[in-house]
Symmetry: none
Subunit: 180 residues, 2 copies
Amino acid sequence: MSTEHDTPLLIVDDDPVFSRVLARALTRRGYHVATASSADEALEVARRHQPVLATIDLKMEGRSGLTLIPELKALLPELNMLVLTGYASISTAVEAIKLGATNYLPKPADADQVLAALQQSSPDAELSVTDSPMSVNRLEWEHIQKVLGEYEGNVSATARALGMHRRTLQRKLAKRPVRQ
Amino acid sequence: MSTEHDTPLLIVDDDPVFSRVLARALTRRGYHVATASSADEALEVARRHQPVLATIDLKMEGRSGLTLIPELKALLPELNMLVLTGYASISTAVEAIKLGATNYLPKPADADQVLAALQQSSPDAELSVTDSPMSVNRLEWEHIQKVLGEYEGNVSATARALGMHRRTLQRKLAKRPVRQ
DNA sequence: CAGTGGTGCGACAATTTGTCTCAGATCGGG
DNA sequence: CCCGATCTGAGACAAATTGTCGCACCACTG
C-alpha cells in the first residue's frame, strides 16, 4: 500500500465541487494531487506536475476531454488515464479506450472506485475485489442530486432529463434520507 | 467498392435468425461470409475460413464472446473484430476494446452500420459528447453490468453485493438495456 | 452420497410507478 | 391586471415491478 505514496495524480474536471471532493479523498490516501479545469490547463499542469495517473472529464468548456487524451498521451506516454464522466455513452467509451485511456467510468463514482479503475490498468484485467460496490439506490440518489443541481433544482426538468416521471421523482425526493 | 469483394468475414452469433439475416445482407454486398454459433465453433471455422473481418456476439451459450476475442486475436492477429450485442454496456465495451476488439455496437444494428464500424479504423477524437445525462435506468444497468463483471457473472454474489434480491436482479438482466 | 451454493423460473402478495387530475404559485409580457 | 406557460405538491387508482417463497436441477466437494 505504500507504493502509491506521493504518486503524482492529475484531476481534470470543470466541476469545482466534484474536483475538490475527489482531490481531498485522494490526497488523504497519499496521492500528490493536482487539478485542472480545462483541456488546455490540463496540458499546462501536466508539464509541471508530471502525473502518473489522471482522471479526465469528458464534458468540459471548450475542447472535450476526448481530444485531450492523445495530447496527454503524447506528452506523457506512460500516463494512466481514467475517463470519468457524467455524460457517459458506449460510443465515447469505445473512442476513449482506442485513444489510449486505460479505463472509463460513469459518474457518480467514489474515490475507491476511481482508484480501482486506475489500478486495473493491465489489459488482462485481474478482477479487483471492490469490497462493496455502491448500492443501486445510493447510485441513483447521487445521480439524481447531481442532475437536479445542473437544472438548478427544477424538478420537472430533471425528471425529463432523467427519463422518469415527475411524480416518481417527486416521491423519491420526498423520502429523502438526506438533507440539502 | 470493389476492394471488399470476396473479403472473408466471420459472423459469431448464437441467434440463428440474426445470423442468417446479417449473413445474407453481407453476402449481397460481396463479402464471403461464414458463421459460427458458439465460441468453440468460431475458432474452428476461423481456422478454415481465415476471416479478415468478424462480428462477435457477447451473450452466447457456454463461454462468453469476451473470452473469444483474445483467442481469435492470437489465431489471426490481423483480424478486425466488431463486438455486436443486444446487452450492451460500457463495462463490457471497455473490456472488449482492451482485449483487442476494434469496435463495439449495440444491437439492433443493420448491415451498413456493421460495415461502417468495421471499416472505421482510426479513432475519432471529435466525437460529440452527449449533452443529456444518463437516464436513471441506464445508469443502473451500467452499474449492474460492471459489478456483475467484477463477480465474474455470478448473479447471486452480485445481488448480494448490490443489496438487491436475486430474483429482481435476474429479472433486470433478462431485460434489454434501455436506450439513450 | 449428502451438503453447499449456483441458476432459472412460477406464483402471489406487497410496494412502487405511471397516469390523470386539481389547485395553487410564479413569471414575463401585452 | 390578466393571459398563457410552467413549476409545484398532492390525491386517487391502475399498471408494473419487486420481495418472497418454493421447487427442480445442476456442479462441485469432502
